[in-house]
Every structure is written in structure tokens, then in C-alpha cells.
């Protein structure tokens, strides 16, 4: 690429950015609200979304199967020590698992679903170590002395021990590795720097090969040069599939259902129903107080000063709902954690509690939990 070209590209980029900024500020911003749309109930939305008829099904299938011709090259790159990084629009989950099932039969494969919220990488490493151990045993009929020594179960070992085991340079069989398939290595559960450092260390082990996928356009920002060049050693594969991200978006909130009052009442009632009757009654006391003090518009608002905690305590004590301040506090913490209530300070400096719902929604909620 020429210098001029690069300059032009950079210029184009900044020009686009400022144009977009300008467009945003100069044109009168549309002030339409989401609530103006007649929103469908979330449950129905999820149901319909699950059954959306995919477009271009035939072409997508054909596209995905066309990548099969690259499998041998990918395998070769893996065996030469690179890690594969799949990117491009569309879910690559099926493609990667198909590749693993068809081409990586000689190696054990662990799949990590990075799109999920929490992933315990230590458990993954333990599994990798166990699989490698099995594979080594399979590779030779009589395990040599050095291998027999580490009979201690892997799950009691430290992370550094496990990584050293996976990285052992002195194992006799060289082309012996286990594969780790990471869907969405840029996913929410793996996005933090500790997880990425850990994954990089796993990928750099001589007996581990990694196949990973990214979907976020800025995913490479997760890695520094040391990780990219010496640990992950990525071999980039551009494989757009246009397959729907069905599994990956399973836990994403629906943008059109978000914030709707129906939604809030529903979640709130689910939370409340899981609590003890006493806790429910404490909430009801607060709700009744709030309904008895509507503001001008009939909505809860920050004008509503809320119910001072002391008042709530005394009312609850009178009704034998709580025996001490400690019990009340534990209920309140539970409410706060689920965003059922908010605290603020009134003009007298007292802590006041209120429920962030409209009066209408609140009435509905009270009716539901009775």
C-alpha cells in the first residue's frame, strides 16, 4: 500500500467521523420515543424471534459448506503451530464444530462457549490436562516413568503446574496436542484482561492448539503485541457465514422490550414471588405508601420524596413484619439488588425509599403478588 493511499484512507476515516458528528448535531434530532411504538409482549417477541424464517437459507448453507475445502489448510496451519482465528459476519459456531468433528478427529477437542456470562478457565485447563494425559497414554503402550510420576489428580494442582504440564517440551511425542475451540473469544465472559492473559498462556502451550472466533469489530484491541505474536500466534481466517447468531444472542435483552412497564412488572413480580411472605409484605407497605402519595402527574417521580426508612421500620414493626432493623435491612438489600427500590436523601437528610415504577404499574404489581 502506498503512503498516499494510507493517508487518504486515514483522511477519509476522520472526514466520515466528523461528517457523522455534524449530521448528528446540525439536523434537528428526532425526539420520537420508543414508547410510541405499539410494543409486543416480550414473551411473544422471543417466540417470534426464535421462529424467524431465515433469508437466503440455501446460499448460506452453500457458503458454509464451501469452507470445507479449506479444512485441510487450516489443519496444516494448526499442526504447524498457529492458532486459527475465525472472523466475519455470521455465527461461526456450527462451522467451527463441523471443522473439529471432521478434521480434528485425531485430537481431543474441548469447546468453550465464550458467549456465556461466566466461564471458569481453571476448569477448562484441568480438562485439557486430563485429555492430554489420556492422549499420551493412548499414544504409547507403556507409559514411561516421567509420566507416571504425575498421578496426582489434576484438579488439585495449581494453574501454573497445569500450564507447565501442557507446555512440557520434553514429552517424546511431538505432534501430540489437544485442541481448544473458543466460540466468541471476545465474548462477555472472557473479555476481561485476566481471562485474555490466561487464554494467551493456554494458547502458547506447546501441546495445545486453539481455534477461536471473534465477532466484535474491535476485538483485536483485547491483545497486545506480545500476546498476538508470541502467545496466540493467530492465523486469521475470514469466514463470513451470515448464519443467525441464535445461541450467541440467547441472553441478550430485546431492545424493544427493554424498559416497557409490562416488562418491569413481570420481572418485579417474579422476584417478589421468590421472596418470603414477610418480605413481600414489607414491599407492600412501601408500595401502599407510595400509592397514597401520588405526585401531580400520578406517576412516581423524584418529586415524590419517598418513604423515610424509619417510618417504614415503625410501620413494619407495628404489623409484626420485622422484629429488628437488621431484618428490615436484609430485606431492603434484597430489594435493592433486584432494583425493586431506590434510595435517596430528602431535604432533611433522611434516607428515603421509593419504587421506580409508575403508579399504574405498581397497582398491577400489588394485584399480582396478592
Amino acid at each position: 500500500m502506498d503512503v498516499d493511499e494510507i493517508d487518504e484512507e486515514e483522511f477519509g476515516f476522520s472526514r466520515n467521523y466528523f461528517l457523522a458528528k455534524e449530521l448528528g448535531s446540525s439536523r434537528k434530532k428526532s425526539a420520537r420515543k420508543l414508547s410510541e411504538i405499539d410494543l409486543v409482549d416480550e414473551e411473544e417477541l422471543r417466540q417470534v424471534a426464535a421462529n424467524i424464517e431465515p433469508k437466503h437459507e440455501k446460499e448460506v448453507k452453500h457458503l458454509i459448506s464451501s469452507y470445507e475445502s479449506s479444512y485441510s489448510n487450516w489443519l496444516f496451519a494448526l499442526r504447524c503451530g498457529f492458532a486459527l482465528l475465525m472472523y466475519g459476519f455470521g455465527s461461526k459456531k456450527a462451522l467451527m464444530e463441523d471443522f473439529a468433528t471432521k478434521s480434528l478427529t485425531e485430537y481431543s477437542v474441548v469447546v468453550v462457549n465464550g458467549y456465556l456470562q461466566s466461564i471458569n478457565l481453571k476448569q477448562v485447563v484441568i480438562t485439557l490436562a486430563e485429555l492430554l494425559w489420556d492422549q499420551l497414554k493412548l499414544g504409547r503402550k507403556t507409559p514411561s516413568g516421567s509420566l507416571c510420576k504425575s498421578q496426582q489428580p489434576f484438579n488439585t494442582r495449581s494453574m501454573s503446574y497445569l500450564l507447565t504440564f501442557l507446555d512440557k517440551p520434553d514429552l517424546e511425542v511431538e505432534d501430540c496436542f489437544v485442541c481448544i475451540l473458543v466460540h466468541n473469544i471476545d465474548g462477555p465472559g472472557l473479555r476481561d484482561s485476566d481471562s485474555q492473559q490466561c487464554l494467551a498462556r493456554i494458547a502458547s502451550c506447546s501441546h495445545v492448539r486453539m481455534v477461536a472466533s471473534i465477532d466484535h469489530v474491535n476485538a483485536p484491541l483485547l491483545w497486545d503485541k506480545k500476546m498476538v505474536h508470541t502467545q496466540f500466534d493467530w492465523y486469521w481466517c475470514h469466514v463470513p457465514t451470515f448464519a443467525p447468531y441464535k445461541v450467541e444472542t440467547k441472553f441478550f435483552p430485546f431492545i424493544l422490550a427493554h424498559g416497557g412497564s409490562a416488562q418491569s412488572v413481570k420481572t418485579a413480580s417474579i422476584v417478589l414471588q421468590s421472596l418470603t411472605p414477610n418480605a413481600q409484605n414489607v414491599f407492600k407497605v412501601l408500595a401502599e405508601h407510595q400509592l397514597a402519595h401520588p405526585d401531580e402527574e400520578g406517576n412516581w417521580a423524584w418529586f415524590f420524596s419517598g418513604m423515610p426508612t424509619n417510618n417504614l421500620y415503625s410501620t413494619c414493626r407495628e404489623r409484626f413484619l420485622v422484629s429488628s432493623q437488621v431484618t428490615l435491612n436484609s430485606h431492603l438489600t434484597e430489594f435493592k439488588d433486584h432494583e425493586l427500590i431506590k434510595t435517596k436523601r430528602n431535604s432533611d437528610g433522611q434516607d428515603c425509599l421509593c419504587i421506580p415504577l409508575t403508579n399504574e404499574a405498581l397497582q398491577k404489581l400489588i394485584a399480582e403478588i396478592i
Binding site: 448528528g24 477437542v109 511431538e174 505432534d175
Partner: protein, 737 residues
Amino acid sequence: MYSPNEHPPTDQLAENNLQPFFVLHKASKSSESSAVMSPGKPRKRRLDSSPKVSLNSESMKENLKMEVFPYVWSKIESNIKDVLRSINADVFDEIGRWVCESFNEICSCRGPVDPSKSTLPYPFVQNGGLVKKLFTALVFTKNIETVDDILTFSELGLNLKSRGCYVVNISSLDFSTKNGIGGCLRAFLRQLLMVDIEAADVSLLASWYSDHGKYEKPVVVIIEDMERCSGALLSDFIKMLSEWSVKIPIILIAGVATSTDAPANVLTSRALQYLSTSMFFLKSPAERMDAIIEAVLVKNCAGFSVGHKVATFLRNYFLRQDGTVTSFVRALKMALVQQLSTEPLSFVLKILVDEGDNKRSWYEDLANLPEEVINHAFELPSYRTYSVNRNNHAELNAMSLDQGLSELQRLQELWRSRLMCLHEAGRYHKVALLDLYLEALDPELYNSRLSNHGCDNAKDKSLLSDSDKLFRLQKAEVTNQVIRKIRDLPAAKLSQLLKSWEGLTRGTVEVHEKIMELQSQMVSGDVKSHKAELTDKSNNLQCYNLCNRRHINRHRLNMEKDACTSNDKAMTLAGQTIRDTMQPIECMPFHELICFKDVDNLQSALVGDPRRRIQIDLLNFYKILKCGCCSNSGGTLSPSMHDTSIMYTLAQEHGDLINLHDLFQSFKASISSSEKKGLKKLASPKKRKDNTHSQNNSDACFQARFCSAVMELQITGLLRMPSKRRPDYVQRVAFGV
């Protein structure tokens, strides 16, 4: 567990999708080829020892590739390591000496050792007062990319270990504020004591040292990248070490990327006081790069080479984008992998490596190959052009392939020696080998040189001098510059240059003779001038008349002229030999077998550009999916397009903030434009009830499709979700592809 050939039951699949991780399958059998991959110890096994192996079977091809790769790559890799080691050897020696001196100095101020007090800080000092100086070497890497220096510092560690020091390598990751001082101390103890201790303490180190060290060896702590460490933590660490610096003779070596004031920027002034610093300088990345190019690509240690475009890409990637030698080495490895995967015959590389070790004919290996493979070689474009140009009708068999390959080797050898000659000449003006290498690889330049030469021959020769011809080839700037500057070389340097050329051109008789001739001319010129000087002196003594003075001046002029002519001759010789014999590899027949040229493939595997590519995927999806329905739309939105593509195209029309309501309405309009037409036809009074039902249904459908499309854009990071402050707006992230 299910066998890979049958599909897993869907329930299990769905369950697996919600597991954080699961085992897809276990290794089915021990890989047969496992014995093949042993990069450390290449075996001297003949290729294709079984007669008439068929290259058609895929597994055979795979195995061949797998056999060749470790063989060739281990050769290249070890070469690179050697080069880097030798480039650092001088500095390492210097550092080693300095460590010894520092240790002696610490020992000299230490009093008699009392083992019972060895685990307390502050030492037994002989000459009174506390010695808290910490001997520190600042190693300037001249390189902001620490990734290149990881190897350097681990080599330095090994070097110092071999000199009998205890060495600890600590990286900036250990100096993170999250782990605190305990983190780096733990890393410290882990490496020296080989134990993982939760409650790390220096006194443990002190007792270990008094047990093991017997006060005979220093402890060297190497911190690879000082500037990336947390300053406060590093200052504390230094303070702590200095308290123990005599009990445990600790010597610090810190890598510094920027300038001499880096320690002052990172450390507190208090910690700075404890340091007694010395400075050492490593070679710059450009110098290392030149050394690697020379060892691997020019001297061609493993027979593998790259084409002009690939080399240009690698150079630009190094100079403008990445700047690390590590990534260059990685790119080279990738090129080798791709060469082996795309060119079935490239396993001849293995023979080339073998040949370097023990010379033998390739014929035996080639004769074992099936006929179709041999034929494949003769169908390569390079051979076709060659045979058309030469009107060559050689028999297409293993023998002629063998000859072709030997010829390729010979030409490569010539090219190499000419390039090295140029490099020698360029050294006097600090011309980078990389630039010369690129020009030497350029097939266009070579061809234009040849055609120019042809034209000139046809014309009247007297009109153009040789040097003019060189000037005409403006494209070969660096090469021409080097050649031109030979003219300005002083005699001593010229004779030095000729001497090095003599060594480099030993293989080609003709050029070698010319150089020898030039050298002898220069020597005789020297003798003459020496004599002339003597006569000048005697003349000076004898007579002082004007006539004689003129005579002296003429003598001097003649001498200068002689020198000029030998410089000119050297220049002409260089120009001529380059034109005649420096044939780039891409102009040689059969070069496809050992030369990697597919720059696009390499680039896409080396530098994925998700930001750009994912956007292009969305905007030009019909080019990838190759569907008939959308490619005709000519840029306008059609309902048949992929939902997310429609959404992203719509988002392009907005500023940085997109009103969700508007977006939904325009999305709905785009996907329903054709459906509306259909609905109109259906609308009859009887079906009104059904219609409202389907209307509701389609509302839900629009909303669901809208939500999915937004979610997909959210996954790709091209849309940011509404914030609490602006609940009705999503934010655009990327501007322009």
C-alpha cells in the same frame, strides 16, 4: 460421547450450547504422523523412500507437507536465533563483565558473614555506614516494542546463568498494582527457590541464598520493560532490594525502550538515589532485520524464498505497521506454511535443505515421483514462458526437472553473490540491505534493464555512456545510488571493497577475473604513484624552475586520473554484472516450487482486519452469498436482503446517534415494501378479521426481526446500546469502511 461421524442428538447439542465448556470428542486414535513432527532433530531420512508414491492421495500430501515443514522451518528458525544471538554477543559480553565487576565491588565492602544474622536486612558492612547502592544496568533496546526483546532478555538470562549467576526474569505483568509487591516477590521466589509461596518474604530469599550461594554468586534480576511497570511498585521493590543489597548481592538489569530519562520518569526520586546505573545499548530493530534478511532470505539457508510483492509487503508491514522483528519472523513462517499448502511440489525444499548438509543429486528423489507430478512441474507458468522464449523442446522427465532445479540453484547463487557485492559497496554509505534486496527481487526492473540494454546495443553506442544507462533506470534508485557512489570511494576503501568482491564472486570465473585484474591495476597504480612521489621529491630537491613544477602537477593529475579510472571501472563492472547475471528469482523457470508469491493470501492470514471486513461483509453481502435476488438491486435496499445488512445500511444514513423509533420505522418500511403489495391484494371485507390478526402477527414479526438485527449489530460492536441518559438512541461506532 458420540462418534464424530454421526450427528449428536439435538437435545445434547442444545445442552452443550449452554455449558461453559464441554468435550466435543476425545482423540480417536494416536496420530500416525505424530512421529513425523520433530523440529528439534531432523532425521536424515530420504524423501519418498517407497517407490512410486502417489501424490494424489490427500493423506499422502498431508504427510509430505508435515514432513517438510518442521524440517525447513527448524532450519530457518535456528538460523534466525543464531543471527540474533550473534548480534547481541558483544553487548552480552559487556554486561557479563560489568556484572562481575559489580559483584566484586559488593563483596569488597562486605564484612565477615555471620550466618545467624543473614536473614535480617542491613548488612555487615566493613567500612562503616550503610551501603544501599543497587548496581543497575539500563539496557536500551532502541525499540518501543518489547515483544522483540523477550527473546533477547531470556538469552541474556541464559548467558548470565552460564557465567554462574542466579538469574530471575521478571516481566511488567508481575509488577501490576493488583498483585502488589507480593506479586513480583512471588515471581522472584518462584524462579529461584522453585516454590510457590503465598506469603512471600525477602528473608526467605536471604536464608536460601546463605544456604546455597555461600556468597560466591550474584543474583541478577532482569526486568524486561521497566517503563511498563507500575512506578510506585518498582520503586518499593528497588528500595526493598537495596536494603538487602549486601546480604544478597542483587544486581538489577532493566530494559528501557525510550531514553535515558526513563528511570527518572518511572521511579520516585528516593528510589533513584539507590541506583548506581550503567548503560548498555542493543542493536536497533532495523539492524536486526537486515541481519535476518541476509541470513535467511539472501543467503537462503533453507532454499525458501519470497517473491517481490511479498517482500515489499513484509517490508512495509515492518516499517509502517508493526515494526517488530517477531512479526516478520511470524510472517515468514506463515509464508512457508502457505507455500507448502498451495504448491504440492514444494516439498523439494526438503531436498534443498538436505543438500546444504550433504551434497547429492536430486535425481534419485525425483525419479521416484509419479509422472503426473513431474508433468505438473513442466506446466508451471515460469517454465512455459521459459520454453517459449528459448524455443526449448527438452524432454519432460525427471532428468530435465533435475537439471532445471540445478540451474535454478546456480542462478540463485549468482544472484545472491551479486546482491552481497552490492551490499558490501552499500555499507560505506549505510544503505540498508532490505532496500537493495527489494530492488534485486523486482522482475520488472530486471526486464526493463534487459530491454534497455537491447535498445542501447542497437543504437550508436557512443551516444550513451554506461553510467548514463544506469541513470535512465530511475526506478532502481538504491541500487543505482550504490553503484554511482563507488566512483567517490577513496582508493583504500575501493581496494577493500574489491577484496570483499573477490571473495564473493569466487564461483564465477569471468567476473572474478575482472575483479582480480582491477585489483592488480590498482596495485600497479599504487606502485606507480609511490614511485612518482619519490621522483617528485628528488625533483623538488634538484631544481625549482617553473617547468619542473608543471611536470609535478601533471604527474599528480595522472595519478588522480588513474584512481578515477579504477573507480569508474569498478562501477562499470558492477553495473554490467548486475545487468547480466542478477536475475530475480521470479524470472527463473520452476521458481514457483520454492518461491512464495501469493501476497494477498499472506496478508489476509497475517493481519485480519475485522473492523473493515465485517462492515464490508454487511454492506456487500450479496457478493459473498452470490444470491440472484439481491445483486440486481444496485445498492438500493430490497426486502430480500439480509435483515442485519438492511439495518446496517440504514444506520449509515444517520449521524452518530440514531433514534430507535426512526430506525424501526425505516427498517419496517424496508422489509415490508413488497409484503404490503401482497397485502393489498388480499384485503377483502370477509377476511378483515384474519387480516387484523395477521397484522398483529406481522407487527410482532417486524419487531422480532428488528430486535434480532440490532442484537447482531451489537455483537459485531457496530452499534452501541442506549444509555440511561439517552434511552431512545443507539450509537453508531464505525464511520467509514
